[in-house]
């Protein structure tokens, strides 16, 4: 998304960086996490898990902000996020 201006404090704000993990063999491929990931970074894998379902993969793992939404929406307890590192990164606004 393009914005007509950047926030003034963009260089100072640090955004938490998350890491998303998938427990492949629990997934039933409903796609909820992909549809609702707040950074739109998940895609459905072309591979199958042991039960024959496609499961999500992080196409752009570096975008994860550890919001946990994929974790709370997953009906299978098959995906979750945690904090990647304390250093953080610049806000992804305006990119």
């Amino acid at each position: 998304m393009k914005y007509w201006r950047q926030p003034l404090d963009r260089d100072e704000i640090q955004v938490i960086r998350g890491q998303v993990e998938v427990i492949k063999d629990r997934c039933k491929g409903c796609g909820f996490c992909i549809a609702y990931c707040s950074r739109g970074l998940l895609v459905m894998s072309r591979k199958f898990n042991r039960k024959g379902y496609h499961y999500p993969e992080a196409a752009q793992p570096e975008l994860c902000v550890n919001c946990h939404f994929c974790e709370v929406i997953c009906p299978e307890f098959a995906i979750f996020s945690s904090q990647a590192d304390a250093a953080g990164q610049q806000p992804p606004v305006g990119e």
Partner: protein, 298 residues
């Protein structure tokens, strides 16, 4: 030293509360019950209660399987009898929290009378009802929640009945905490379940949730994601609305929110007062024999 044969799968934050040996669970892909179950586990974790002080009781149905997946004292009772079982458990161990988690059919069709009277007595239970508008487990029969006109296996031409409004029913019966969300209001649902657990008295939380397999499919909303969105998109948050007005209207007025929250003595409070002789004889004003017959009838 042994070397790891294969990398252990990562541990999910709910794994402590899950009977992981039974996961994957039986629920269909995209079934809303799993989301609600996750919310329940999150609320139990947030409550900080000791594990031995929380019990989960379910009846029969897809939703009723929750009791079998949680690593707490739990009991999967017979169909419709979760509330009576939970009542016994609560009265035997009043210091513990007893959570009933079951389906709309289990709690309000076969179990309807237990529900009504537990609410009337303000029994200190937290009742979580996954309302998927049908009997999912047995293939999608009509339930007391099925919308007017909706198709089920037993109403192939459309349901000719008006459904119950469970929140209005609970409130009318005397429930002291009543709320409703859809399965996509996840964070609010978790906070509500936590509040309901902490509330002293009969707390009722209804969750409008997708059953894509039995209900969605027959009503032309086949995808689980579509059904999840369908309910959410029609919802409006109206906290503290009179429960009778909190309709489940699929024409953009599916009312969600917290409708009732007040304190009144629970069954156990009153029972103990009676046993201690602290309750005045009934009627409280006494009977004035001399006045009897003086007031004209009619």
């Amino acid at each position: 030293m042994t070397t790891a044969l294969a990398a252990a799968p990562p541990r999910h934050p709910h794994d402590d509360l899950l009977r992981t040996e039974r996961i994957p669970h039986i629920w269909c892909s995209g079934c809303g019950i799993g989301i609600v179950f996750g919310s329940l586990m999150a609320a139990i974790t947030k409550s900080g209660l000791a594990r031995q002080d929380v019990a989960v009781v379910s009846g029969i149905g897809c939703t009723g399987r929750m009791a079998g997946y949680i690593r707490l004292d739990s009991f999967h009772t017979t169909h419709g009898r979760a509330i009576p079982f939970a009542t016994g458990l609560k009265l035997a161990r009043p210091q513990g929290k007893v959570i009933v988690a079951s389906g709309d059919g289990d709690l309000l069709a076969i179990g309807g009378n237990h529900f009504i009277h537990a609410a009337r007595r303000n029994m200190d239970l937290t009742v979580i009802c996954v309302n998927n508008f049908n009997y999912g487990m047995t293939g999608g029969q009509l339930a007391p929640s099925t919308p007017f006109g909706a198709k089920t296996t037993t109403t192939p031409q459309g349901n000719p009945d008006e459904p119950f409004n469970f929140c209005a029913l609970a409130a009318a019966c005397g429930a002291s905490y009543v709320a409703r969300w859809t399965a996509l209001h996840i964070r609010r649902l978790t906070n509500t379940i936590l509040e309901a657990i902490n509330h002293k008295g009969f707390s009722f939380v209804e969750i409008v949730a997708p059953c894509p397999t039995a209900f969605g499919r027959r009503n032309k909303i086949r995808g689980a994601l579509d059904l999840l969105k369908f309910y959410y998109d029609r919802s409006v948050v109206k906290n503290h609305l009179a429960p009778g007005e909190a309709t489940i209207d699929f024409d953009h007025n599916l009312v969600v929110g917290k409708f009732v929250e007040f304190d009144r003595p629970t069954f156990l409070d009153h029972y103990q007062m009676v046993n201690r002789g602290e309750v005045e004889a009934w009627p409280a004003t006494g009977v004035d024999a001399s006045a009897a017959g003086q007031r004209k009838a009619g």
